[in-house]
Symmetry: D2
Subunit: 387 residues, 4 copies
């Protein structure tokens, strides 16, 4: 359950017989490092290794203390035993799908589990997985964190876009997105083009899927396809809203073609680059920032991590998904901005260092009316109101 | 998990965006009123009614506030949906058994679930259930709380005893319990006799089962049987340690005989007796105390509950299981003692008022070496070290 | 300043650079053990000795830790340097008076300072000091704590009473105290008589001063004087409300007479009596209780103090001032009651052990409208609204 | 007393009868806004006005709540009544001096009181006052905060320097400051020259006083004087260490000369400049920064203050005293740096907005061995070990 009251608290009160007072708090499941660990673990052994090295505090000398040092990692692993097993579900059309793990895409890497992907690769000829939200966040973390750790390199990359989002990047306000506006879409196309350019830096074969909305005009769709072609990007319209799986056959064929091409995917930066330079690399290459402003706390944190043996870890940037920059209002393809890093946090078990940028909110807001109020239980034991 | 650090805490810290600071704490599952509610609920409807009326705090005017007033009882019920279903297990000999719910026997009533008992009554000719620990606690609560609420009146009662425990009540120290000592057992028999006398006050047909240990001498067993006979108590030795189910055939036959006799079971006190007098009745009739010393906080609490419409509830005494008195060192069949009540607590959902006596610890101590340290997970996903 | 919000708190938050989290609280000045220490110290040396031995906590082994062990007692003494000097003030008639220290009369001994009394004894032939509130509290503590520690034994004792209070002890409600009611006063006289009887147990020469109110009838006053005479108590009416100091000349003369008589004052119990028996002695001899009910926490506390070398200290009872018993509604001269002791607290620096009885409130309630709201400061720097 | 454990805490615990739980903390006296208020108040009336408008929190709507709204400002004023009176002390030579108030020079303005300065101006022909530490902090705040609020404009300004500090700014390490090093001093002179240039921006008549150390060589002193002359700065050596007041006669004469010159002092920026631009003005004009990096929290805070009627207040920069920049290691006269502002804080009663820069520590570190351990009190009541 989400309970804001548990985010920050003092525990261990009640006198000497209880425990030692301490400032602490609960994270929600998706924000816990344990979720990222589960998503990145490749086996029970690897799960235990990751739990073991998870840093849970520091001793009086300031040295990191791990769950392993507290002798609790195996018990944690036992609690997670069944959770490491992927869930097999089906789409409305009966196609099988694996859904497994939900690490947040800001303070974590936002990808489904390594175990799930491996299972899918055993069972199917082609595996499609999703990395959300925004290719500057999701795809970058997919390659630099998940693929790097698991050795699971993708053969091709479908960059999804919509006419509507490009019009918004081109300056159209939300209320007028239903109107055809080729000029605005052209202006906003710079956003898509930059994402494609970014993805090619990984060595990925990139194709574009246009997620069609009924409000898209043929003129807009045609123009978008020719803009993609101008950038050398294979492109197909997918109309799954109206056509279900059949609506995406063109895109699927395009993808199968792409899989025939050789791909030599590699991460954006090597393990041995210092943490600070890793952040600067992502900021420069992916966000196109002029530079990075590190707050003093961030510099201290990076120096501490570098000195304590965590310098080889990849970076996980917590940034707004609305802009390449850390300013959610800077749309399209901004240049000349600086990335502001306020602090960093170690996820030693998951195997990355989180960098907090701008004013990113790492905790979801809760609705004014709690979801619990909608839920009911019938006399026959049926639960209603969950969705 | 048991974590002492969560027993007493201040939550809601972190500023205005988070929540309102509040002193609170977690109970372990067995000590939560929710466990007692689950054990006493007779259906999903009844579960919701109980959750709804559970008092979770008070408003500024000092009036009780319920989970229902917070609109969360249905969501709580949804979480408990599967938990209300009894668990069917089997003994080593393959006999079916239902195991369901574990409310503590001090701050709660210590009996298995009403739903489980009802299910067993549908499935079997004879249902045996257990009420622990010590007949002055378990059996009293079974009749005055579970039977009263569920209308499930027992037809007979097996009072279990051991030669060893009677020798301890007769003054023998633990290290010498293996030695035959008829005189000490005779002295300690007053304890068993008083339990039997207590149980007959409910109108129960009482028989005695002697749980045989290999250290019991024939002389001791013979003398114990004749002492029971002297009190008019049917008695049989059960040697399940050596004989399995077959070792209890005599006792089972005795029980079947007892079920032939008519029984008119009734609680010790009526609903309408004021809370204070209910406590005094249990203390006088069952514990044989000269009187009850109520701490001022207990009197205030009782007055509050009586005034706010909770006067009709039965009492659940949190007392040491080692003595009829609130002093764990006062063995056998003490008289002349007083019961000291330090405070009371409402369990409105479960439907009783807890009275804390003496120095009873309502929370289990934790081992010096955490159980978590023994647990392991193999590469094949097997969990070891749980027991 | 009185601030309820500071009574219970968790300090030392803010992370490792700050301090260690701890549950603690502020006492108001009069309730602090430091105030009692100041009032009982006979010199700067004695002040330092007392501060040094003040117990401020316990170590992990449960042994007491003193201010001296923290090396802070001398600095505390420095802060109190000027506070140890008595204040010389004058009455409305210009008579000099020393006012010094205000330890509460429940959790402390309620007497003015030893240094002030000694200074007065150097400066005047006769020193009158006050011990409040209720002779069962104030006078008992004056002899058993202040006199015992300072070796300052009083030569005589003026027991003050009013016609109105005796009528109240005789059953008259407050609204009707202005009406003459000799019968009620006679009934309530048992209260005064018992106080006198108590004080004589110390070996004190006791005389009675009647603090006259304008509502007192001559008949009431005459009857009260003859009742006192019947108990062998010298008595005088003091009408200081109407006559100022002159109104008390008769009482003063009576006191001078009393000073001529030899007095062999001694405490109620010897130092070497165990703490528990000291409490029982005061309860039996002064409160006329049938016995004492110690809560388990009180027994544990007494055992701890006895075992750690504090068994020789006198007892300071925190009890309601409205009754000889711990029940404020039990007026006049009750018998047959029991004293309920809920807990004990060590004041090692002051040199006594506090016993909490009944539901005594050791903290003053604060007014609904804070006193601060009345206070003002003029442009000339004059403070108004303090009283 | 300084107690780190009181810096961050949760108060109001202990249940409903006590108070409302709240996260809060104590500031040490010099860091309290009350100290700055006292130092800037010109009269009792002004003191009350300032206390009244002090913002102590916000309501549920996020609007500021003042001490006046809580009806406590007059009572606060009463407590401060005597504290507003300056202290008259004397130097070792018997010269009178007023010492009054000690607001910190980072989170407050670091100047002695307005009331003290006014009193001195009534009593003496020439008043010398100090503004610490570093002219970029102390002198800037003296003019922009104290002089602006009080209308007390200085007639001249003595800029104090030492040969040693200039050598340090010129790159000499501390251990070698005793060695004559004219070249290093020349290099470090850029620091002094920039301070002088800054002060002239206020319209101040600036002269330089060289605080002589015995390690200064004649060659260094001569060169320093000629460097000052080259900047058109009147200069004199003051050797008060060896010569007492007499050692500063030259400097005093120079100051008297300077007082003859007309001065038209004015602040660096007008009241009506937005808060953000005020910070940027100080950063550019005084610190010579290329620009200011505002953390998001700082921008939010400035927007809030601007919107709630505090935009007219001057700025009080909390910055390291070791450098013109916010980096204490950037000595001499740095250029090309940026000022990093992490947050802002309103001192509505004092009448300024604090801007936190770099990693400035606003709380003094405490010594490893508490000062309290050195303090003692003799039997005669003399306090030793305070210094």
């Amino acid at each position: 359950m989400n309970d804001r009251a548990l985010r920050d608290m003092v525990t261990g009160l009640g006198g000497k017989k209880e425990a030692v007072p301490r400032e602490t708090g609960f994270d929600i499941t998706a924000a816990s490092e344990v979720m990222a660990i589960l998503a990145l673990a490749s086996s029970y052994e690897d799960l235990l290794v990751r739990l073991d090295r998870t840093v849970v505090g520091s001793n009086f000398a300031g040295e990191p203390v791990t769950a392993g040092q507290l002798n609790v990692s195996a018990a944690m692993g036992a609690l997670l035993r069944d959770a490491l097993k992927p869930n097999l579900v089906q789409t409305l059309e009966g196609t099988p799908a694996l859904i497994h793990c939900g690490p947040f895409a800001n303070i974590a890497h936002g990808c489904s589990s390594v175990v799930g992907t491996r299972m899918a690769l055993k069972l199917a000829d082609v595996v499609v997985t999703e990395a959300g939200f925004g290719a500057d966040l999701g795809a970058e973390k997919f390659v630099d964190i998940k693929a790097r750790q698991a050795g699971l390199w993708p053969s091709a990359c479908v960059l999804l876009g919509t006419v509507r989002s490009l019009k918004m990047h081109g300056g159209v306000e939300v209320a007028r997105l239903n109107e055809s506006n080729v000029a605005a879409m052209e202006a906003g196309f710079q956003n898509l083009a930059r994402h494609a350019e970014n993805l090619r830096k990984f060595g990925l074969n990139v194709l574009v899927g246009i997620n069609r909305f009924n409000s898209d005009s043929d003129e807009e769709l045609d123009r978008l396809k020719s803009l993609c072609a101008g950038e050398g990007l294979p492109v197909a319209v997918a109309d799954v809203w109206n056509g279900g799986g059949g609506g995406a056959v063109d895109l699927a064929r395009l993808l199968l073609d792409a899989l025939e091409k050789p791909a030599a995917v590699q991460p954006l930066y090597p393990d041995e680059l210092p943490l600070r330079e890793k952040i600067e690399t992502v900021a420069r290459e992916f966000y196109r920032a002029d530079g990075v402003d590190f707050a003093p706390a961030a510099l201290d944190g990076l120096a501490y991590l570098q000195a304590h043996g965590f310098g080889h870890l990849p970076i996980c940037v917590a940034k707004t998904q609305y802009s390449f920059s850390d300013n959610p209002k800077l749309l399209c393809a901004p240049v000349g901005h600086r990335l502001s890093v306020s602090g960093v946090k170690l996820s030693a078990g998951a195997g990355f260092v989180v960098a907090y940028t701008g004013k990113v909110m790492t905790m979801p807001a809760l609705p004014r009316k709690p979801g619990a109020e909608r839920i009911s239980l019938t006399p026959d034991g049926e639960i209603k109101g969950l969705y």
